[in-house]
Protein backbone atom coordinates (compact mmCIF):
# COMPACT_ATOMS: atom_id res chain seq x y z
CA UNK A 1 0.00 0.00 0.00
CA UNK A 2 2.89 2.35 0.77
CA UNK A 3 5.50 2.69 -1.97
CA UNK A 4 9.16 3.71 -1.67
CA UNK A 5 8.37 7.44 -2.07
CA UNK A 6 5.72 7.23 0.64
CA UNK A 7 8.21 5.56 2.94
CA UNK A 8 10.81 8.27 2.25
CA UNK A 9 8.25 10.94 3.12
CA UNK A 10 7.34 9.09 6.31
CA UNK A 11 10.97 8.93 7.29
CA UNK A 12 11.43 12.67 6.71
CA UNK A 13 8.40 13.83 8.64
CA UNK A 14 8.01 11.22 11.34
CA UNK A 15 11.43 9.50 11.56
CA UNK A 16 9.61 6.34 10.61
CA UNK A 17 11.51 3.60 8.83
CA UNK A 18 8.80 1.02 9.22
CA UNK A 19 5.13 1.08 10.07
CA UNK A 20 5.15 2.52 13.59
CA UNK A 21 4.49 0.69 16.79
CA UNK A 22 1.48 1.79 18.76
CA UNK A 23 -1.34 3.96 17.47
CA UNK A 24 -1.07 5.59 14.07
CA UNK A 25 -3.06 7.01 11.21
CA UNK A 26 -1.43 7.57 7.84
CA UNK A 27 -3.17 9.97 5.47
CA UNK A 28 -2.18 10.12 1.81
CA UNK A 29 -3.45 12.54 -0.84
CA UNK A 30 -6.51 13.48 1.15
CA UNK A 31 -7.60 10.06 2.40
CA UNK A 32 -6.71 7.77 5.28
CA UNK A 33 -4.73 4.74 4.11
CA UNK A 34 -3.71 2.87 7.24
CA UNK A 35 -4.62 3.00 10.92
CA UNK A 36 -3.87 1.20 14.13
CA UNK A 37 -5.34 1.71 17.58
CA UNK A 38 -4.30 0.32 20.95
CA UNK A 39 -6.13 -0.60 24.15
CA UNK A 40 -5.50 2.93 25.45
CA UNK A 41 -5.55 5.02 22.29
CA UNK A 42 -8.50 5.14 19.95
CA UNK A 43 -8.64 6.88 16.58
CA UNK A 44 -12.08 7.65 15.14
CA UNK A 45 -12.94 9.24 11.79
CA UNK A 46 -14.95 12.43 12.14
CA UNK A 47 -18.44 12.23 10.72
CA UNK A 48 -19.22 15.89 10.13
CA UNK A 49 -15.99 16.87 8.40
CA UNK A 50 -12.66 15.54 7.20
CA UNK A 51 -10.36 14.46 10.03
CA UNK A 52 -9.97 12.23 13.05
CA UNK A 53 -10.49 12.21 16.80
CA UNK A 54 -7.60 10.77 18.77
CA UNK A 55 -8.70 9.73 22.23
CA UNK A 56 -6.06 8.86 24.79
CA UNK A 57 -7.35 7.27 27.97
CA UNK A 58 -6.42 8.77 31.34
CA UNK A 59 -3.20 7.34 32.89
CA UNK A 60 -1.86 6.08 29.54
CA UNK A 61 1.92 6.12 29.95
CA UNK A 62 4.77 5.90 27.47
CA UNK A 63 2.67 5.39 24.34
CA UNK A 64 2.94 7.24 21.06
CA UNK A 65 0.62 8.31 18.27
CA UNK A 66 1.91 8.94 14.76
CA UNK A 67 -0.38 10.77 12.36
CA UNK A 68 1.77 11.55 9.32
CA UNK A 69 0.28 13.08 6.20
CA UNK A 70 1.84 12.57 2.79
CA UNK A 71 0.95 14.37 -0.39
CA UNK A 72 2.51 12.88 -3.51
CA UNK A 73 0.31 14.34 -6.23
CA UNK A 74 -0.10 17.80 -7.65
CA UNK A 75 -3.32 19.78 -7.50
CA UNK A 76 -4.28 18.48 -4.07
CA UNK A 77 -5.96 20.80 -1.59
CA UNK A 78 -6.40 18.83 1.58
CA UNK A 79 -7.99 20.38 4.67
CA UNK A 80 -8.17 18.20 7.75
CA UNK A 81 -9.55 18.76 11.26
CA UNK A 82 -7.99 16.61 13.97
CA UNK A 83 -8.97 16.64 17.62
CA UNK A 84 -6.83 15.16 20.38
CA UNK A 85 -8.14 14.27 23.80
CA UNK A 86 -5.12 13.64 26.03
CA UNK A 87 -6.53 12.01 29.18
CA UNK A 88 -5.72 12.99 32.76
CA UNK A 89 -2.26 12.03 34.03
CA UNK A 90 -1.29 10.37 30.75
CA UNK A 91 2.22 10.76 29.30
CA UNK A 92 2.34 10.47 25.51
CA UNK A 93 4.20 11.47 22.35
CA UNK A 94 2.28 12.63 19.29
CA UNK A 95 4.13 12.99 16.00
CA UNK A 96 2.29 14.79 13.21
CA UNK A 97 4.46 15.49 10.21
CA UNK A 98 3.49 16.45 6.71
CA UNK A 99 5.55 15.65 3.64
CA UNK A 100 4.75 16.93 0.16
CA UNK A 101 6.31 15.51 -2.98
CA UNK A 102 5.14 17.62 -5.88
CA UNK A 103 6.68 16.86 -9.26
CA UNK A 104 3.95 18.65 -11.14
CA UNK A 105 3.21 22.23 -12.07
CA UNK A 106 0.15 22.77 -9.93
CA UNK A 107 -0.03 23.61 -6.29
CA UNK A 108 -0.26 20.95 -3.58
CA UNK A 109 -1.56 22.13 -0.25
CA UNK A 110 -2.31 20.60 3.11
CA UNK A 111 -3.95 22.53 5.93
CA UNK A 112 -4.03 20.66 9.20
CA UNK A 113 -6.21 22.17 11.93
CA UNK A 114 -5.33 20.48 15.20
CA UNK A 115 -7.12 21.01 18.49
CA UNK A 116 -5.71 19.51 21.67
CA UNK A 117 -7.29 19.11 25.06
CA UNK A 118 -4.49 18.23 27.44
CA UNK A 119 -6.26 17.21 30.62
CA UNK A 120 -5.23 17.67 34.25
CA UNK A 121 -1.72 16.45 35.10
CA UNK A 122 -1.04 15.02 31.64
CA UNK A 123 2.29 15.25 29.83
CA UNK A 124 2.33 15.70 26.08
CA UNK A 125 5.18 15.98 23.65
CA UNK A 126 3.95 17.06 20.23
CA UNK A 127 6.30 17.06 17.24
CA UNK A 128 5.31 18.57 13.90
CA UNK A 129 7.76 18.30 11.03
CA UNK A 130 7.23 19.70 7.57
CA UNK A 131 9.13 18.60 4.51
CA UNK A 132 8.76 19.12 0.80
CA UNK A 133 10.47 17.90 -2.35
CA UNK A 134 9.83 17.40 -6.06
CA UNK A 135 11.26 18.70 -9.31
CA UNK A 136 8.22 20.47 -10.68
CA UNK A 137 7.43 24.13 -10.21
CA UNK A 138 4.12 23.36 -8.51
CA UNK A 139 4.02 25.09 -5.16
CA UNK A 140 4.17 23.11 -1.91
CA UNK A 141 2.01 24.85 0.66
CA UNK A 142 1.34 23.97 4.30
CA UNK A 143 -0.88 26.03 6.59
CA UNK A 144 -1.15 24.35 9.97
CA UNK A 145 -3.27 25.66 12.79
CA UNK A 146 -2.73 24.31 16.28
CA UNK A 147 -4.92 25.11 19.28
CA UNK A 148 -3.96 23.69 22.65
CA UNK A 149 -5.85 23.92 25.93
CA UNK A 150 -3.52 22.91 28.75
CA UNK A 151 -5.38 22.08 31.94
CA UNK A 152 -4.21 22.27 35.55
CA UNK A 153 -0.73 20.90 36.18
CA UNK A 154 -0.31 19.57 32.65
CA UNK A 155 3.00 19.86 30.78
CA UNK A 156 3.22 20.37 27.02
CA UNK A 157 6.36 20.30 24.95
CA UNK A 158 5.98 21.41 21.35
CA UNK A 159 8.51 20.96 18.56
CA UNK A 160 7.66 22.72 15.31
CA UNK A 161 10.17 22.03 12.58
CA UNK A 162 10.30 23.07 8.92
CA UNK A 163 13.70 22.56 7.40
CA UNK A 164 13.26 21.88 3.72
CA UNK A 165 11.19 22.31 0.62
CA UNK A 166 8.01 24.13 1.69
CA UNK A 167 7.33 27.09 -0.60
CA UNK A 168 4.74 28.76 1.50
CA UNK A 169 3.59 28.29 5.03
CA UNK A 170 1.40 30.16 7.47
CA UNK A 171 1.50 28.59 10.87
CA UNK A 172 -0.92 29.66 13.60
CA UNK A 173 -0.44 28.36 17.11
CA UNK A 174 -2.71 29.31 20.00
CA UNK A 175 -2.14 27.93 23.48
CA UNK A 176 -3.95 28.57 26.75
CA UNK A 177 -2.42 27.51 30.05
CA UNK A 178 -4.43 26.90 33.24
CA UNK A 179 -3.16 26.70 36.87
CA UNK A 180 0.38 25.32 37.19
CA UNK A 181 0.47 24.29 33.54
CA UNK A 182 3.82 24.37 31.81
CA UNK A 183 4.70 24.90 28.17
CA UNK A 184 7.93 24.71 26.18
CA UNK A 185 7.78 25.53 22.46
CA UNK A 186 10.79 24.93 20.23
CA UNK A 187 10.46 26.26 16.71
CA UNK A 188 13.01 25.66 13.95
CA UNK A 189 12.60 27.13 10.51
CA UNK A 190 14.77 27.27 7.40
CA UNK A 191 13.69 29.05 4.24
CA UNK A 192 15.58 29.48 0.97
CA UNK A 193 15.06 30.46 -2.68
CA UNK A 194 11.87 32.54 -2.72
CA UNK A 195 10.05 30.66 0.02
CA UNK A 196 7.81 32.50 2.44
CA UNK A 197 7.01 31.50 5.99
CA UNK A 198 4.82 33.11 8.59
CA UNK A 199 4.53 31.89 12.16
CA UNK A 200 2.11 33.34 14.68
CA UNK A 201 2.32 32.04 18.22
CA UNK A 202 -0.08 33.26 20.89
CA UNK A 203 0.27 32.01 24.44
CA UNK A 204 -2.14 32.97 27.18
CA UNK A 205 -1.06 32.43 30.79
CA UNK A 206 -4.56 32.16 32.25
CA UNK A 207 -4.02 30.08 35.38
CA UNK A 208 -2.03 30.78 38.55
CA UNK A 209 1.66 29.87 38.38
CA UNK A 210 1.61 28.74 34.78
CA UNK A 211 4.82 29.11 32.78
CA UNK A 212 5.74 29.27 29.12
CA UNK A 213 9.01 29.27 27.27
CA UNK A 214 9.15 29.82 23.52
CA UNK A 215 12.46 29.31 21.77
CA UNK A 216 12.37 30.13 18.07
CA UNK A 217 15.40 29.83 15.82
CA UNK A 218 15.34 30.41 12.11
CA UNK A 219 17.64 30.77 9.13
CA UNK A 220 16.55 32.82 6.12
CA UNK A 221 18.58 32.36 2.94
CA UNK A 222 18.48 33.54 -0.69
CA UNK A 223 15.38 35.66 -1.43
CA UNK A 224 13.16 34.04 1.19
CA UNK A 225 10.99 35.91 3.63
CA UNK A 226 10.06 35.07 7.21
CA UNK A 227 7.50 36.78 9.39
CA UNK A 228 7.04 36.07 13.08
CA UNK A 229 4.42 37.31 15.49
CA UNK A 230 4.82 36.28 19.10
CA UNK A 231 2.12 37.27 21.53
CA UNK A 232 2.52 36.39 25.20
CA UNK A 233 -0.37 37.38 27.45
CA UNK A 234 -0.11 37.20 31.22
CA UNK A 235 -3.56 37.12 32.77
CA UNK A 236 -2.46 35.72 36.13
CA UNK A 237 0.59 35.19 38.32
CA UNK A 238 3.03 33.33 36.11
CA UNK A 239 6.16 33.48 34.02
CA UNK A 240 6.68 33.65 30.29
CA UNK A 241 9.80 33.93 28.17
CA UNK A 242 10.12 34.33 24.42
CA UNK A 243 13.54 33.96 22.85
CA UNK A 244 13.73 34.35 19.09
CA UNK A 245 16.87 34.32 17.05
CA UNK A 246 17.24 34.54 13.31
CA UNK A 247 20.27 34.21 11.08
CA UNK A 248 19.80 36.23 7.92
CA UNK A 249 21.76 35.59 4.72
CA UNK A 250 21.89 36.78 1.11
CA UNK A 251 18.83 38.88 0.15
CA UNK A 252 16.46 37.35 2.67
CA UNK A 253 14.07 39.30 4.89
CA UNK A 254 13.06 38.58 8.46
CA UNK A 255 10.32 40.46 10.27
CA UNK A 256 9.84 39.69 13.93
CA UNK A 257 7.08 41.31 15.96
CA UNK A 258 7.08 40.54 19.64
CA UNK A 259 4.30 41.48 21.99
CA UNK A 260 4.11 40.88 25.69
CA UNK A 261 1.12 42.08 27.64
CA UNK A 262 0.48 41.73 31.35
CA UNK A 263 -2.95 41.92 32.95
CA UNK A 264 -1.77 40.92 36.41
CA UNK A 265 0.84 42.53 38.68
CA UNK A 266 2.62 39.21 39.23
CA UNK A 267 2.94 38.26 35.60
CA UNK A 268 6.61 38.20 34.62
CA UNK A 269 7.11 38.35 30.88
CA UNK A 270 10.37 38.57 28.97
CA UNK A 271 11.04 38.87 25.29
CA UNK A 272 14.46 38.55 23.68
CA UNK A 273 14.88 38.88 19.94
CA UNK A 274 17.86 39.02 17.64
CA UNK A 275 18.38 39.01 13.89
CA UNK A 276 21.86 38.95 12.46
CA UNK A 277 24.22 37.28 10.06
CA UNK A 278 26.65 34.50 11.00
CA UNK A 279 29.39 36.02 13.14
CA UNK A 280 32.70 36.12 11.30
CA UNK A 281 34.47 35.04 14.50
CA UNK A 282 32.46 31.80 14.45
CA UNK A 283 33.55 31.10 10.87
CA UNK A 284 37.18 31.92 11.68
CA UNK A 285 37.11 29.63 14.73
CA UNK A 286 35.90 26.61 12.76
CA UNK A 287 38.21 27.38 9.83
CA UNK A 288 41.10 27.49 12.31
CA UNK A 289 40.15 23.89 13.19
CA UNK A 290 40.58 22.89 9.52
CA UNK A 291 37.03 23.38 8.20
CA UNK A 292 36.52 25.05 4.82
CA UNK A 293 34.40 28.21 4.87
CA UNK A 294 31.40 26.30 3.48
CA UNK A 295 31.82 23.47 6.01
CA UNK A 296 32.08 26.03 8.82
CA UNK A 297 28.90 27.78 7.66
CA UNK A 298 26.99 24.47 7.38
CA UNK A 299 28.16 23.38 10.84
CA UNK A 300 27.05 26.67 12.41
CA UNK A 301 23.63 26.55 10.72
CA UNK A 302 23.06 22.86 11.52
CA UNK A 303 23.86 23.48 15.17
CA UNK A 304 21.64 26.56 15.28
CA UNK A 305 18.67 24.70 13.81
CA UNK A 306 19.15 21.51 15.83
Amino acid sequence: MLNALDKLMLEKVADLHEIPQGAFNIRKNGAGVQRNTTANIDIVTKEDKSGIDVIIKPYTKGESVHIPVIVTEENINDVVYNTFEVGEYSDVLIVAGCGIHNSGHHKSQHDGIHTFFVRKGAKLKYVEKHYGQGDGNGERVLNPKTIIEVEEGAVVELELIQIKGIDQTKRDTEIRLMDNAKLVVTERLLTYQDQEAESNITVELSGVDSSAQIISRSVAQDDSKQTFYFDLIGRNKGRGHIQCDAIIMHNAQVLSTPRISAHHSEAQLVHEAAIGRIESEQLIKLMSLGFSEQEAEDTILNGFLK
Partner: protein, 250 residues
Protein backbone atom coordinates in the same frame (compact mmCIF):
# COMPACT_ATOMS: atom_id res chain seq x y z
CA UNK B 1 59.79 25.72 12.28
CA UNK B 2 57.88 28.97 11.71
CA UNK B 3 59.56 32.04 10.28
CA UNK B 4 58.27 35.56 9.84
CA UNK B 5 60.35 37.58 7.42
CA UNK B 6 59.90 41.35 7.20
CA UNK B 7 56.22 41.02 8.00
CA UNK B 8 54.21 44.25 8.05
CA UNK B 9 50.50 44.69 8.54
CA UNK B 10 48.66 47.85 7.72
CA UNK B 11 45.02 48.55 8.38
CA UNK B 12 43.55 50.88 5.80
CA UNK B 13 40.95 53.39 6.78
CA UNK B 14 40.62 57.15 6.97
CA UNK B 15 44.13 57.10 8.31
CA UNK B 16 46.32 54.13 7.34
CA UNK B 17 47.74 52.53 10.44
CA UNK B 18 50.68 50.15 10.58
CA UNK B 19 50.02 47.51 13.23
CA UNK B 20 53.04 45.30 12.56
CA UNK B 21 56.25 46.87 11.32
CA UNK B 22 58.87 44.76 9.60
CA UNK B 23 58.71 41.82 12.01
CA UNK B 24 61.44 39.20 11.77
CA UNK B 25 60.97 36.19 14.04
CA UNK B 26 61.93 32.54 14.10
CA UNK B 27 60.05 29.99 16.18
CA UNK B 28 61.67 26.59 16.62
CA UNK B 29 60.24 23.15 17.29
CA UNK B 30 59.68 21.98 20.85
CA UNK B 31 60.08 25.44 22.32
CA UNK B 32 57.77 27.69 24.28
CA UNK B 33 57.72 31.38 23.36
CA UNK B 34 55.94 34.02 25.36
CA UNK B 35 55.06 37.22 23.53
CA UNK B 36 54.49 40.09 25.92
CA UNK B 37 54.45 43.86 25.93
CA UNK B 38 52.10 46.79 26.40
CA UNK B 39 48.48 46.75 25.22
CA UNK B 40 48.13 47.77 21.60
CA UNK B 41 51.68 46.70 20.85
CA UNK B 42 50.64 44.26 18.10
CA UNK B 43 50.68 40.92 19.97
CA UNK B 44 47.20 39.71 19.00
CA UNK B 45 47.70 41.01 15.46
CA UNK B 46 50.86 38.92 15.27
CA UNK B 47 48.90 35.83 16.41
CA UNK B 48 46.14 36.47 13.87
CA UNK B 49 48.67 37.04 11.11
CA UNK B 50 50.26 33.66 11.91
CA UNK B 51 46.82 31.95 11.75
CA UNK B 52 45.90 33.73 8.49
CA UNK B 53 43.06 35.82 9.94
CA UNK B 54 45.04 38.88 8.78
CA UNK B 55 47.04 38.88 5.58
CA UNK B 56 50.33 40.75 5.89
CA UNK B 57 50.70 43.85 3.73
CA UNK B 58 54.26 42.80 2.99
CA UNK B 59 56.75 40.15 4.03
CA UNK B 60 56.62 36.37 4.14
CA UNK B 61 55.57 33.63 6.53
CA UNK B 62 57.27 30.25 6.17
CA UNK B 63 56.37 26.94 7.79
CA UNK B 64 59.08 24.30 7.53
CA UNK B 65 60.65 26.37 4.77
CA UNK B 66 57.47 26.55 2.68
CA UNK B 67 55.94 29.94 1.97
CA UNK B 68 52.43 29.99 3.48
CA UNK B 69 51.85 33.76 3.18
CA UNK B 70 49.11 33.31 0.56
CA UNK B 71 47.40 30.41 2.33
CA UNK B 72 44.06 31.00 4.03
CA UNK B 73 43.00 30.04 7.58
CA UNK B 74 41.74 26.57 6.59
CA UNK B 75 44.94 25.71 4.68
CA UNK B 76 47.14 26.86 7.54
CA UNK B 77 45.04 24.89 10.04
CA UNK B 78 45.46 21.77 7.91
CA UNK B 79 49.22 22.39 7.76
CA UNK B 80 49.32 22.29 11.57
CA UNK B 81 48.80 25.82 12.86
CA UNK B 82 46.33 26.36 15.69
CA UNK B 83 45.06 29.45 17.45
CA UNK B 84 43.17 29.89 20.71
CA UNK B 85 41.14 33.11 20.64
CA UNK B 86 41.49 35.79 23.27
CA UNK B 87 37.68 36.15 23.27
CA UNK B 88 36.33 32.88 21.93
CA UNK B 89 33.08 32.94 19.93
CA UNK B 90 30.04 31.05 21.22
CA UNK B 91 27.86 28.68 19.21
CA UNK B 92 24.15 28.22 19.76
CA UNK B 93 23.09 24.58 19.51
CA UNK B 94 26.61 23.10 19.48
CA UNK B 95 27.60 21.07 22.53
CA UNK B 96 31.02 21.16 24.18
CA UNK B 97 31.68 17.54 23.18
CA UNK B 98 30.68 18.25 19.57
CA UNK B 99 33.03 21.22 19.33
CA UNK B 100 35.89 19.20 20.82
CA UNK B 101 35.18 16.29 18.45
CA UNK B 102 35.29 18.72 15.52
CA UNK B 103 38.61 20.02 16.80
CA UNK B 104 40.01 16.49 17.16
CA UNK B 105 38.61 15.25 13.83
CA UNK B 106 41.81 15.86 11.87
CA UNK B 107 44.07 14.45 14.59
CA UNK B 108 45.40 11.00 13.58
CA UNK B 109 45.96 10.18 17.24
CA UNK B 110 42.98 9.05 19.28
CA UNK B 111 41.95 11.94 21.51
CA UNK B 112 40.07 11.44 24.75
CA UNK B 113 37.67 14.36 25.03
CA UNK B 114 37.29 13.90 28.79
CA UNK B 115 41.06 14.10 29.30
CA UNK B 116 41.12 17.33 27.31
CA UNK B 117 38.60 18.93 29.64
CA UNK B 118 40.50 17.66 32.67
CA UNK B 119 43.68 19.23 31.27
CA UNK B 120 42.02 22.64 31.28
CA UNK B 121 40.53 22.16 34.74
CA UNK B 122 36.94 21.28 33.80
CA UNK B 123 34.98 18.26 34.96
CA UNK B 124 33.95 16.34 31.82
CA UNK B 125 30.65 15.10 33.23
CA UNK B 126 29.52 18.64 33.96
CA UNK B 127 30.44 20.09 30.60
CA UNK B 128 30.27 17.54 27.76
CA UNK B 129 26.57 18.04 27.08
CA UNK B 130 26.38 21.77 27.66
CA UNK B 131 25.93 24.13 24.74
CA UNK B 132 28.85 26.38 23.84
CA UNK B 133 26.62 29.43 24.25
CA UNK B 134 26.07 32.30 26.65
CA UNK B 135 25.21 29.85 29.44
CA UNK B 136 28.96 29.35 29.93
CA UNK B 137 30.98 31.92 31.85
CA UNK B 138 33.92 33.74 30.28
CA UNK B 139 36.41 31.57 32.17
CA UNK B 140 34.64 28.36 31.12
CA UNK B 141 34.59 29.47 27.48
CA UNK B 142 38.25 30.31 27.65
CA UNK B 143 39.17 26.86 28.95
CA UNK B 144 37.06 25.11 26.33
CA UNK B 145 38.74 27.26 23.68
CA UNK B 146 42.15 26.12 24.93
CA UNK B 147 40.93 22.50 24.88
CA UNK B 148 39.99 22.86 21.17
CA UNK B 149 43.60 23.70 20.40
CA UNK B 150 44.96 20.94 22.65
CA UNK B 151 42.74 18.47 20.74
CA UNK B 152 44.73 18.99 17.59
CA UNK B 153 48.03 17.56 16.44
CA UNK B 154 49.84 20.82 15.79
CA UNK B 155 53.19 22.06 14.63
CA UNK B 156 52.49 25.55 15.94
CA UNK B 157 49.96 26.38 18.66
CA UNK B 158 49.25 30.04 19.42
CA UNK B 159 47.36 30.93 22.63
CA UNK B 160 46.16 34.52 22.98
CA UNK B 161 46.16 35.44 26.68
CA UNK B 162 45.25 31.91 27.84
CA UNK B 163 45.20 32.93 31.50
CA UNK B 164 42.57 35.68 31.12
CA UNK B 165 39.49 34.92 33.22
CA UNK B 166 40.89 31.67 34.60
CA UNK B 167 40.89 31.07 38.34
CA UNK B 168 43.97 30.29 40.35
CA UNK B 169 43.48 26.52 40.62
CA UNK B 170 42.82 26.10 36.92
CA UNK B 171 45.74 28.35 36.14
CA UNK B 172 48.06 25.90 37.89
CA UNK B 173 46.51 23.02 35.95
CA UNK B 174 46.88 24.95 32.72
CA UNK B 175 50.54 25.69 33.36
CA UNK B 176 51.12 21.96 33.93
CA UNK B 177 49.28 21.19 30.71
CA UNK B 178 51.55 23.50 28.71
CA UNK B 179 54.57 21.85 30.36
CA UNK B 180 53.22 18.40 29.44
CA UNK B 181 52.73 19.31 25.78
CA UNK B 182 56.21 20.74 25.83
CA UNK B 183 57.75 17.53 27.15
CA UNK B 184 55.65 15.09 25.05
CA UNK B 185 55.37 16.75 21.65
CA UNK B 186 57.45 18.76 19.23
CA UNK B 187 54.82 21.50 19.02
CA UNK B 188 56.04 25.07 18.95
CA UNK B 189 54.00 26.90 21.58
CA UNK B 190 53.47 30.65 21.34
CA UNK B 191 51.79 32.18 24.38
CA UNK B 192 50.66 35.78 24.37
CA UNK B 193 50.60 36.82 27.99
CA UNK B 194 51.30 39.42 30.61
CA UNK B 195 51.55 36.92 33.45
CA UNK B 196 54.87 36.31 35.12
CA UNK B 197 53.89 32.71 35.84
CA UNK B 198 53.24 32.11 32.15
CA UNK B 199 56.54 33.77 31.32
CA UNK B 200 58.24 31.30 33.65
CA UNK B 201 57.20 28.54 31.22
CA UNK B 202 59.00 30.19 28.34
CA UNK B 203 62.21 29.17 26.70
CA UNK B 204 62.30 32.57 25.06
CA UNK B 205 60.44 35.81 25.65
CA UNK B 206 59.59 38.29 22.91
CA UNK B 207 58.61 41.83 23.83
CA UNK B 208 56.47 43.71 21.34
CA UNK B 209 55.66 47.39 21.43
CA UNK B 210 54.47 49.81 18.77
CA UNK B 211 54.23 46.97 16.25
CA UNK B 212 57.86 46.00 16.49
CA UNK B 213 59.88 43.41 18.37
CA UNK B 214 61.68 45.50 20.97
CA UNK B 215 63.46 42.57 22.60
CA UNK B 216 63.84 38.84 22.16
CA UNK B 217 65.99 36.62 24.31
CA UNK B 218 66.11 33.72 26.73
CA UNK B 219 63.60 33.89 29.53
CA UNK B 220 65.91 34.73 32.42
CA UNK B 221 67.62 37.56 30.59
CA UNK B 222 64.33 39.21 29.62
CA UNK B 223 62.72 38.64 33.02
CA UNK B 224 65.70 40.23 34.75
CA UNK B 225 65.41 43.13 32.32
CA UNK B 226 61.69 43.56 33.08
CA UNK B 227 62.37 43.56 36.82
CA UNK B 228 65.00 46.28 36.39
CA UNK B 229 62.95 48.25 33.91
CA UNK B 230 63.35 51.98 34.34
CA UNK B 231 59.92 52.68 33.02
CA UNK B 232 58.29 51.76 36.32
CA UNK B 233 54.73 53.07 36.65
CA UNK B 234 55.13 53.82 40.35
CA UNK B 235 54.12 57.44 40.97
CA UNK B 236 56.82 58.02 43.53
CA UNK B 237 60.53 57.30 43.32
CA UNK B 238 61.02 53.58 43.44
CA UNK B 239 63.68 51.16 44.62
CA UNK B 240 63.94 48.98 41.55
CA UNK B 241 65.10 45.48 40.96
CA UNK B 242 64.62 44.16 44.45
CA UNK B 243 61.83 41.74 43.65
CA UNK B 244 58.29 41.69 44.95
CA UNK B 245 58.95 43.61 48.12
CA UNK B 246 60.11 46.77 46.37
CA UNK B 247 59.25 49.84 48.37
CA UNK B 248 58.43 53.29 47.11
CA UNK B 249 60.50 56.00 48.70
CA UNK B 250 60.42 59.79 48.85
Amino acid sequence: MLQLQKVSLEIQGDIDFEILKNINLEFHEKKIYVVTGPNGGGKSSLAKTIMGVYNPTSGQILLDGIDITAKNITDRARLGIGYAFQSPPRFKGIKVKELLKMAASHNPEKVNICDLLYDVGLCAQDYLNRDVDTSLSGGEMKRIEIATVLARNLKVAVFDEPEAGIDLWSFQKLAETFKNIHSKYDTTIILISHQERIMELADEIIIMSNGTVSAQSERDIILAGIMNNDSCTCSAKCVKGVGQNAECVG
